[in-house]
Symmetry: none
Subunit: 195 residues, 4 copies
DNA sequence: TTGTAAACGAGACGGTACGTCAGGTCTTGAG
DNA sequence: CTCAAGACCTGACGTACCGTCTCGTTTACAA
């Protein structure tokens, strides 16, 4: 009478579905994504998907949670030099975005987030930027940053927002470089020219 | 013998279609948007839409071009005080975003841009922010800004990116306030406390 | 592992579709017949029709096979008097044709057969006339018929052809009566006037 | 003030339209026939067709009247031997029907007649069989026919009906031969075997 | 000559139906 | 009780024609 009777949920099916989701998302983008296609690619009945997820958004959110999508958020380095560390991190994130394949997945992801609040939430949660980045920045002395503690959030948001702008821009107009962004957001380093 | 024969394109139909597109977009978001629905709401044959646009993206891009969507880009004020002007502009933009209805349209718009490069292009073009805002900031003295001329672009991008982040965030986590953002992006004013 | 998995075909849907086909055919004739209309009337998805039939012709042919259309072919009586039996049968068939409703269905049927070879085949097969009638005529003595065995087929064809001519004629010009047809096709009976 | 002003009806357009109708009918059959296709093939505006005809049926009926369709009705020969003449005529008519191209047009024609009473009427009128054939048969002595005058009509109908049956039959089951039909419909000739 | 009225080609328009595809639900039989 | 398979109803897709309606052009009678 308890909840443990019957066949157990198939881990194999679960993984196959999430994997197929990522693959389809990569191949076709968000709104050409079809449950039917995912089911077919995963070799799974549609019902199995609906039983456990129930919507495209939930699927993608789960992919995020399981870290199956190329993550824009890896731990920033900490060499002691905030400017250098942030510049490096930002440059690498931009390279990640500029890659054709990732670009398409990220765009699909933003599309999903824009349409589906629950994806947006998962994306925000996953977007470790807002934590990993903040964590790194928090180690910096006040002298190195321009803003006081409360607006570390503003800094992280500006960085992430800049990346999203780059993502949504045509390749021909990529927007500001990592250097320019850092120059804007952080005060000049001790060895910087006076102006 | 030239190409001008036959009945002329109906301006009335053109406008009805674009209007209906905006309405449907507002009501249902980008990926529940259907050509069929637009045609029905506009009182128009589907073929008339396909004849002139041929895709959801093109339709939306055209709406942008025709300024039919609630524009996030109005002319920033110029009182001489950059900090105050930018703070005001940003605050109003945030209010615009925070409004339920606009929020949905903007999200749909970002979704469309993420899925459809041509919409992205139109959106970037339309996003007067990058011109109107830059125009205002360019009038400021170097002393008022933190960055030299070349990275005005970085500044505008950071501002816009911050707004998009707010748009994609759950209402419960709106992110930094206008004040915080300005404090980050502009150097302290003359009457600001020293630190 | 075999081919029996999945939900079974719905008999209810099958019957509803064939019934709706007959109704629509009766109401609107063959070339105003629409799959969409049939699906709607049957309360069925179009796909279900296309899954199993794939064309208007196949649908109608199936209706014929299932005897859902008013049949022009009922068993001819056998009183021993071929002339009388044939005359009666023919008269009743003509009455059937002369009825407005049946007339429309039959015409639609002929239209379908003329456009669609597979309907033609089904119609020919179903047109029991060529079997039921021949069966009856075959019981007659040679003296009663004018032709030898091999051309019973010719006789049945002439009878059916005469009926089709009547079907395609305007009501104001119905063509020969049953008596006249029988007088043409069978030799005078023993009690007939000499000339 | 009278009705004679303005441009005259273009004979060239009229002919082009009827010709195109025949061609399209030959190529695609009745229910794949489109006014749009006819207009395009004739190099004519659709309105010109609708102005003068207004329906597919009327077009086809006009083609019949203008004798633009391969006629099944040519004058039967008169050698003095009714059996031989009728057999010959019937054989040639069957050959006409058996030809692939004609077969398709005739079937389209029957389809049109079945759907459209006005075509049926034109077809009946045109189907000279009922006049040309009757004319020939009427010259025969009573001894040569089996039926008295009044049912010449029955005879002609049986002949025509037999041809239509052949038209609607699959090629693999062409039905009775000309000889068989004549043997059924006419009394044995003077030199025929007794039974 | 010069109206002016009708017919013409072209083709846009609001519609209906096409045949296909995917969505989400339900049913079946195997595990 | 889950799974794969797959039939089901729903509804949108993009296309093809429908029959109507302008357009600008061409023709030909009437003033």
């Amino acid at each position: 009478m308890d909840g443990k009777r019957g066949r157990k949920r198939s881990e194999q099916a679960r993984v196959a579905i999430l994997t197929a989701t990522v693959d389809e998302l990569t191949d076709k983008g968000y709104d050409s994504l079809s449950i039917e296609g995912i089911a077919a690619r995963a070799g799974v009945g549609k019902h199995t998907i609906y039983r456990w997820w129930g919507s495209k958004g939930a699927l993608i959110a789960d992919c995020l949670v399981e870290n199956l999508l190329p993550s824009p958020a890896y731990e920033p380095p900490d060499t002691g030099d905030v400017r250098a560390d942030l510049t490096r991190w930002l440059g690498e994130a931009m390279d990640l975005i500029d890659d054709r394949t990732n670009r398409d997945v990220f765009r699909a992801l933003v599309g999903a987030a824009a349409e589906n609040p629950s994806v947006a939430e998962a994306l925000n949660a996953q977007l470790g930027v807002l934590s990993a980045l903040v964590r790194r920045l928090a180690t910096a002395s006040h002298a190195e940053l321009r803003t006081s503690g409360g607006s570390l959030d503003a800094l992280a948001t500006a960085v992430t927002g800049t990346l999203i702008m780059r993502l949504l821009s045509p390749e021909s107009m990529p927007g500001p470089s990592a250097d320019q962004v850092v120059a804007l957001l952080l005060p000049p380093g001790p060895d910087a020219p006076d102006r």
